[in-house]
Structures are given as structure tokens and as C-alpha cells.
């Protein structure tokens, strides 16, 4: 029963995260819902085909005219999905195009560019050549077998900075098609309430989980787990001190065997159980233990490596450095 109760905040968190992700994603959809008034004319365009009866339909992209809103109202509609943005591409005079982004590639009348022999021919280039009425000859690796001349153009999505605009002006271009992006409007986002509710549920689930975690920690701290951890650290500290005293007469192989057993035994087990110490004693006390412990553990690892390399002196020196560090960690363990 207690386990089931503990799972509820987890379940809430999972469900609320999924609904929050979904409602957030809905803010990127390329349409919005519009509440229209019958007989009113809108500069908005249908996002989807709409059936207006058995034989009639309004196609995607149809403008929401007064006639259409009247017709829709008669059919019982009062909301319709319209494109967002309403017009993704607009044509503007070149004098007003600074800082805009070209919606499509734009040829520069009278100007050409030469593509060298050897250039790879991809589908986009083939299309461009076809549109220009140029035939490209390629070799068996799909590269141009001879240079080709095509009308010069400014690429689609080019940013219209001073250089591009000067080039367009000098080529006699007077107006350009530019992109319009959908602006995010809080009021237009129908998923906002679902998102806010999901975030609220996530907050409640997090608070609940943290409360349960405090209860768990109190239970674990009062039990034997923390004592086990303390015992492991004390055992490690005593073993390393003892090894340090005996190390002078030991061979590299003997040192290696003992250090390996310590690293894989008490040191490994202490590391595995460290989260309990952090939860029970807090980050400050945890750091006071883990800092000297980790330094001591690293010296033991160095002793391990040095013994493998048949460098007994370094192994002994490293064990000697590890001993006081592990003692310090053991003494710092909260009582």
C-alpha cells in the first residue's frame, strides 16, 4: 500500500510531463482557430479543405470572405481553422526589403554564372537548369562533364542585406517576395490552459516526491544503513593504514592484490551507498566526507596503476598518501 502511494507522484509527474510536452508542441502548429462573425470579411485563409455540403467545398487557402463566413454560419460553424501566418509570403518594394528574408530564389536579369566542369549535379541543380532551358551533361559519377552557364540568382532564404539589395537594384529588380513568420500570441494559443495545468500538476508531484524523499531519508538514517556506510569507510581507512605500515616489505604483485581488493570491496560499496549520506546529512557534510575520500581513493587507484607498472616505490608512496585522507574522511562522517 505504501509502495503504491509512493508511486502516485511518479505517475503524476510522467503524465503531466507528457501533457505539458504535447500542449507546448501545439504552439508550433501552422494554423489557429478563429471565431468569426457571419457576414464579416477577413484577411485570413482556410488552413484545410472544408466541406460546405454534398457537392461543395472550400479549398485550403480560400480567403475567409463575407460570403464564406455567411455560408459557414448557416452551416452552424462559428469557429474555423485559418493559416498561421495568414500570408507566409508577401511581395514588398525593394526599398522596404532591408532585413527581410527571400521567400524563393530570385534570378538576376541579364546576369549569368558559370558552373565548372566536375561539379556534382544534384536534383536541385537539375531543376534549376531545366527551368533555365539548359541541358547539363554529366559523367558516370554524376559530375558536370563540361562547364555550364546558368542565369545568376540570389538563393531562396537569403537575408536581404545592403549587398544583396544593391545587386538586386542594379539588376533592375523592383520588388521581392519575402517570408512572413507566425508570431507567437499567448491569446491565440489554445493549448495554454492545458500547459499551465500540466505545469501545476508537475509542481504538485515534485513537492509530493520531495516530501516522500524526506520521510524515506529520515527512516533510512535512523536505521542501520548509515551505520553500514560508516563501517565501510572505517574498514577502508583502517585497512589502508595497515597496508601502508606493511607496504615496505611487499612486492608489486602483493601490493596490487591488496589494493585491488580494497578498491573493489569497501571503496566500491561506499561509493554505491553515498547517496544516503547526501540525503541524510546534506550537501555540506557530504562534501566534507567525499572530498578527502575521493582524493584518498584516487591515490589508491594510482597505487593500483603503479603496482601494475612494477613501480613499487610509487605504489607505496601513493598508499601512504591515501591513508591520512581516508582517515580524515572517516573522522568527518557525521555521528
Amino acid at each position: 500500500m505504501i509502495t503504491m502511494k509512493n508511486k502516485i507522484p511518479d505517475l503524476l509527474l510522467v503524465v503531466a510531463t507528457a501533457t505539458a510536452a504535447l500542449s507546448a508542441s501545439s504552439s508550433r502548429r501552422p494554423w489557429r482557430e478563429l471565431d468569426f462573425n457571419a457576414g464579416q470579411d477577413y484577411q485570413e485563409f482556410l488552413a484545410f479543405d472544408l466541406s460546405l455540403g454534398e457537392q461543395q467545398k472550400a479549398s485550403e487557402g480560400t480567403r475567409l470572405s463575407a460570403e464564406l463566413t455567411t455560408q459557414l454560419d448557416a452551416l452552424g460553424f462559428n469557429t474555423v481553422r485559418v493559416r498561421n501566418p495568414a500570408v507566409p509570403v508577401v511581395t514588398v518594394p525593394i526599398e522596404e526589403a532591408a532585413g527581410e528574408v527571400l521567400a524563393e530564389a530570385l534570378p538576376l536579369p541579364g546576369q549569368t554564372e558559370t558552373l565548372p566542369k566536375g561539379r556534382l549535379v544534384d536534383a536541385a541543380l537539375e531543376l534549376r537548369a531545366t527551368e533555365a532551358g539548359v541541358t547539363l551533361t554529366t559523367d558516370d559519377r554524376g559530375k558536370l562533364s563540361q562547364a555550364a552557364t546558368l542565369p545568376k540568382r540570389i538563393r531562396s532564404s537569403a537575408f536581404l542585406d545592403a549587398d544583396n539589395l544593391a545587386e538586386l537594384s542594379s539588376a533592375g529588380v523592383t520588388e521581392v517576395p519575402v517570408k512572413r513568420a507566425a508570431a507567437f500570441r499567448w491569446g491565440d494559443w489554445s493549448g495554454r490552459w492545458a500547459f499551465l495545468i500540466s505545469v501545476f500538476v508537475m509542481t504538485c508531484a515534485v513537492a509530493w516526491k520531495r516530501k516522500l524523499s524526506v520521510v524515506d531519508t529520515a527512516a533510512a538514517s535512523s536505521g542501520s544503513s548509515l551505520e553500514t556506510l560508516r563501517g565501510l569507510l572505517a574498514e577502508l581507512s583502517q585497512s589502508v593504514s595497515s597496508l601502508s605500515e606493511r607496504a615496505a616489505g611487499m612486492s608489486a604483485e602483493e601490493l596490487h592484490a591488496e589494493v585491488d581488493a580494497l578498491l573493489q570491496g569497501p571503496a566500491y560499496n561506499f561509493v554505491e551507498g553515498r547517496a544516503l549520506l547526501q540525503r541524510a546529512a546534506g550537501m555540506g557534510a557530504f562534501a566534507l566526507v567525499m572530498d578527502p575520500f575521493s582524493r584518498g581513493e584516487r591515490q589508491l587507484s594510482r597505487a593500483w596503476s603503479a603496482s601494475v607498472d612494477q613501480h613499487e616505490d610509487e605504489a607505496r608512496a601513493s598508499i601512504a598518501k591515501a591513508a591520512p585522507l581516508l582517515r580524515e574522511a572517516s573522522e568527518a562522517f557525521p555521528s
Partner: protein
């Protein structure tokens, strides 16, 4: 430069080799070669390969095999230097080629200055977090753990060494047929199995071909990536969250978005997962990452502050400091800031000193935060969302420079190099912790070696651009054999941002969710879910399978058995794919 050691009884007979000329020269040489090869192949295929494992394996061959001198910690220094020189390539090739794609001339001097500044800052900024991530949180850093397994193999016993070699062999055999077309040989695609391409198995397509029902919007593809399986195994249970996040993005968000017509008209059901990922899950995932990391950072502040305090204290009794002193790091930060400032001032058209200083300051602060995010991601899962960070950085810089691309991309490149160095530094320090290396010595060398990387990489980019321009008429992108896919993607993002289509609300919503998840008491939950929503599911699946295998074995055979027997095999899987990856990159370079 060799160390002197002392024993309680008197001076050592011979010094224990750690920093040696042989290790440094070997590290620099192998790092430069790997950097050039991986830069070249990265511009072709769009992703890069880490160099630590390869350097560690080669280090054994050269330092121990040929020179007959190498120790475990000396080889650790060699791999630290090599990976530090190599690692900057992803930061450079994900960003700078976008200038070529936009038809903008790359200024070599400022490009090198900005990325070098990034390399220095990346190393300097991450050092104070070593204690928190490696010693307190004990993040797994799977590649760092795998490299340590390689370095420790001579002393780990014959059985473990055999398991490691078996893992390497298995990984190489499995991975070989994903790339064998480079040698003109058959790949998995030639088996003619429905859904099986050269490096991916589309399970949905396979099931459908067998007459079993499978929704068309559910993209269940799995990459043939032994590396991901190994990384998942080493991560274990915490990695399962990554799988859950991937399932949320691919099996909940994408199908719902398709069914409710949230995707652009004409989107095919099979493409729904990819389109939804680009439009929704990726920006949301980046937001989750940032929010989750911010809370993680706030949690870690006491430990970081304690580490910085320790770095300020003088040493006592001949005990070596753990980290480089704070004044060295402070000096590095000031130097790097000045480089960034100079790069910004020189590239902003009509920019004031104040504007350049602001950009350099924001860039520097952002590097610190993004570096911690990336290091956390690498520590928890082995993945670093570098392209996501590049996107965010360029977006911020574009907003600050009134849409000027050159300074935005330069600062973006600096940040990307910085964060790759952060991740690499922490992987190397993890290895160092496991083999008993001196963190301070690793940090010193990484700081110097990191400076070399960007110059090597940028030089390769410029040479390749010049060759491509001569041969194909354009430096990179469509029409050349160096499509630079990551830079092409960044170009799309820049175009979108300049056109006013930046998904800022999704970043913000993700940030709120990530912060809440990380407050739940499960360490790094927001970061893990965010990373999962950002990455393609095809790589998360083998990773998740690795986590499940580890959990199953731990339950059946015990944690110690899994650590002793399973981790060396998993390490072999990571190393094997890396070795073969660099081999194929070399073949591509030689083959032109």
C-alpha cells in the same frame, strides 16, 4: 619533465613516468592527425568521432610496445593531449562552414582567435566543476570509463583483458558492414531485408512487410551502433530516463501532432516523427536541457564554491593541489575574453566598443553555462548536444548584433569549441580519476594542447573549401562532395531566425519543465529528458537496450559481476566503433 616521487623511507629509485616528452609528442602528433581526418570526414558525413579511446589504444602500442617505457598514467597523459587537440573539430565544422554556405568570406585570423579563445575558456571554466561531477556526483562518463578500462587492461587480469578485446572485436565486426561501402564492399543494405539500410534497421517497416500491423506515424528505427549499446550499459539504470524521453518525443508527440494536424500540410505519416522532432521536440528538448541544467547548477554551487575556495588556498606540506590554481584560470579567462572582444569588435559592422564588450561578456558567460550543461550530458549519457548549443548561441548572438551573421557565427564557433573541450576535459579527468592520474597535470596539458586544435581544424576547412571551389565552383554544400550537413542545418536555422521564426516560446516552456523535473529529487532528470527529446530515437534505442541489459545482469549476477565482466565488454564496444570510425575516416582522406 618526469615526476619525482618519494617514499616514506627516502627518495625514489626511479621517477614514475607521467608527464614525459614522449607522451606529449605522441599525443600532439596523433591528435593533429585525428583532428585533420575527422574534420574531413565530419564535413562529408555530418558527425565526428571522439579520439580518447583511439589514442589510448595506440598509446599502448607506441609508448609501451615500441618505446617500452609507457606507464598507465603516462598513457593517460598521451590520450589527454591527443583528445584535447582533436576534440575541437566538431565545434568548428558545425559552425564556421556556414559562412561559406552563405557566401561570406571567412576571416582566418579572427576565426582562429575566436575558436582558440573558446578552447582556453572551455578548459578553464570546467575545472572548478571536476570535484562536483566526478568525485561527488560520480557521473559515469561512459567514454572516460571505457578509456580507463583500456588503460588498466594490463593489470586487470587476463580474463578482463580478453573480455575487453572480445568487445572491441564484436563492435568492429558489427560496425564494419555499416561503412564497408567505402571499401567497395557489401553493407547490411545488400542483404535485401526490408527496412534494413546500411546502418539502420527500420523495425516498423520490417513488421509491416511481415504483415504485422504497425502505425505509419510510429518511427521505430534502430541504428546499428555498438557504441550506443556500450554507453547505455555503462550508464545503467539512470539511462532509462533517456529512453523514456525518446519514446515521449517519437511515440506521443509525433503521432498526436500528425493526427491533430499540427504538422505542415502534406506531411507524410512516415515523415511525421522527423518533422515533429524538428519543429517541436528538438526546441522543447533544448529548453528542458537548459532549465534542468540551471537547477543542477544551483544545486552544485556550494560544491563549486568549495572547489574554488580550495584552488585559492596555498598548498601545505608538499601536497599537490588537485586543480590548477585559481589565478591561472583567471588569467586564462581574461586572455580568452580579450580575444573574443577583439574578434567581435573587428567583425561587427559599425559596432561600438560597448557592443563588442557586451557580446564578448555574454559569450563568455554563456560558454560557462553551456559548458556545464554539455559536461553534465556527457557525464550522464556520453552524448553532447553540441549542435543544439550552437543553434542557441547563434540565435542569441544574432539578436545581440541586429542579425549580423559573421560575429554571431564566430562567437557560436567559440562557444562550440569551448563546450567540446569542456566535455572532453571531464571525460579525460574521469579516466584520470579511475587510473590515479594527477588532475592538475592533466588540466595543465589540456589547457596548452587545446590551443592547437582549432588552428588545425580551421586550416583543413580552408584547404578543403579552396579545393572544392576550384573543382566544384562552391566551397561546401550541394554540388560538392563535402555537403557539411551540420553547417547546412545551422544555415537553415539562421535563415529562420533572420526571418523571425525562432522557437523562443518552446525554449521557454521547455525551460520551465526541465527546471521542475530537476527539482524532483532525481539528479539531472530535466537534462536527461531534454537530451532524449533532442536526440534521434534510433540512437536512443540501442542505448536503452544497453541500460536494460545492465539492469538485468545486475539483478541476476550482482552489481560487482556486472562491473567486472560487463563494463570491460561495453568499453570494448565503444572503443571498437571508435577505432573503425577513425580508420574509415583515414581511408576517406586518402581516397579524396
Amino acid at each position: 619533465m618526469s615526476d619525482s616521487t618519494s617514499t616514506p623511507g627516502g627518495p625514489a629509485k626511479t621517477p614514475y613516468r607521467e608527464i614525459t616528452p614522449a607522451a606529449i609528442i605522441f599525443g600532439v602528433l596523433i591528435g593533429v592527425v585525428m583532428n585533420a581526418a575527422i574534420t574531413y570526414s565530419g564535413l562529408k558525413i555530418g558527425f565526428t568521432i571522439g579520439g580518447s579511446a583511439i589514442a589510448a589504444v595506440l598509446g599502448w602500442g607506441v609508448l609501451r610496445g615500441i618505446l617500452r617505457k609507457g606507464t598507465i598514467v603516462e598513457n593517460n597523459i598521451a590520450q589527454t593531449v591527443a583528445s584535447s587537440v582533436n576534440t575541437s573539430n566538431s565545434g568548428v565544422i558545425f559552425t564556421l562552414p556556414v559562412l561559406f554556405l552563405l557566401g561570406i568570406q571567412l576571416d582566418l585570423v579572427w576565426a582562429i582567435a575566436a575558436t582558440t579563445a573558446g578552447a582556453i575558456l572551455g578548459v578553464a571554466f570546467i575545472i572548478p566543476t571536476r570535484k562536483q561531477m566526478i568525485e561527488f556526483e560520480r557521473l559515469r562518463f561512459p567514454t572516460g570509463t571505457a578509456v580507463a578500462a583500456v588503460l588498466r587492461s594490463p593489470g586487470a587480469g587476463v580474463q578482463k583483458a580478453r573480455i575487453l578485446l572480445a568487445g572491441i572485436a564484436a563492435s568492429m565486426i558489427v560496425f564494419f558492414f555499416t561503412q564497408s561501402d567505402i571499401l567497395g564492399l557489401a553493407t547490411y543494405a545488400d542483404l535485401g531485408v526490408t527496412g534494413l539500410s546500411k546502418d539502420t534497421l527500420n523495425i516498423g517497416a520490417l513488421l509491416s512487410s511481415l504483415g504485422l500491423p504497425w502505425p505509419r506515424t510510429f518511427d521505430l528505427s534502430i541504428a546499428i551502433a555498438p557504441f550506443a549499446l556500450g554507453a547505455g550499459f555503462i550508464t545503467g539504470r539512470p539511462g532509462l530516463v533517456v529512453l523514456a524521453g525518446g519514446l515521449l518525443a517519437y511515440f506521443i508527440v509525433a503521432p498526436v501532432a500528425y493526427e491533430l494536424s499540427w504538422l505542415p500540410n502534406g506531411t507524410e505519416p512516415e515523415m511525421a516523427a522527423n518533422v515533429a522532432r524538428g519543429m517541436m521536440s528538438r526546441p522543447l528538448g533544448i529548453g528542458l536541457l537548459m532549465g534542468g541544467a540551471l537547477i543542477g547548477l544551483l544545486h552544485a554551487l556550494p560544491a563549486i564554491s568549495s572547489a574554488m575556495g580550495a584552488m585559492r588556498k596555498p598548498t601545505a606540506g608538499g601536497v599537490e593541489r588537485d586543480e590548477l590554481p585559481l589565478k591561472v584560470l583567471g588569467g586564462a579567462v581574461i586572455l580568452a575574453f580579450l580575444l573574443l572582444f577583439a574578434a567581435a569588435k573587428s567583425t561587427i559592422a559599425g559596432g561600438s566598443v560597448g557592443q563588442a564588450a557586451l557580446i564578448a561578456a555574454v559569450g563568455t558567460a554563456w560558454m560557462w553555462f553551456a559548458g556545464i550543461v554539455i559536461a553534465q550530458c556527457a557525464g550522464m549519457t556520453d552524448w553532447s548536444p553540441i549542435s543544439g548549443m550552437a543553434l542557441l548561441t547563434v540565435m542569441i548572438c544574432l539578436l545581440m548584433t541586429d542579425n549580423q551573421v559573421v560575429p554571431a557565427v564566430l562567437i557560436g564557433a567559440a562557444v562550440c569549441v569551448a563546450i567540446t573541450e569542456c566535455a572532453d576535459m571531464m571525460q579525460d579527468l574521469k579516466t584520470g580519476h579511475l587510473v590515479g592520474g594527477s588532475p592538475r597535470k592533466q588540466q595543465t596539458l589540456e589547457l596548452f594542447a587545446a590551443i592547437l586544435g582549432p588552428a588545425v581544424c580551421i586550416l583543413v576547412v580552408i584547404l578543403l573549401a579552396a579545393r572544392n571551389t576550384q573543382e566544384f565552383g562552391v566551397p561546401f554544400g550541394p554540388g560538392t562532395d563535402s555537403p557539411a550537413p551540420q553547417a547546412e542545418a545551422l544555415k537553415g536555422v539562421i535563415d529562420g531566425i533572420r526571418g523571425g521564426d525562432a522557437p523562443i516560446p518552446l525554449f521557454a516552456m521547455g525551460g520551465v519543465m526541465g527546471a521542475l523535473l530537476s527539482l524532483s529529487g532525481l539528479a539531472g532528470l530535466g537534462v536527461l529528458v531534454g537530451l532524449a527529446m533532442y536526440l534521434p530515437l534510433m540512437y536512443l534505442l540501442p542505448y536503452g537496450i544497453g541500460c536494460l541489459i545492465q539492469m538485468r545482469l545486475s539483478k541476476k549476477r550482482g552489481a560487482a559481476w556486472t562491473e567486472n565482466m560487463g563494463v570491460p565488454f561495453a568499453a570494448g564496444l565503444i572503443v571498437g566503433e571508435g577505432l573503425l570510425g577513425i580508420l574509415f575516416a583515414g581511408i576517406q582522406v586518402l581516397g579524396g
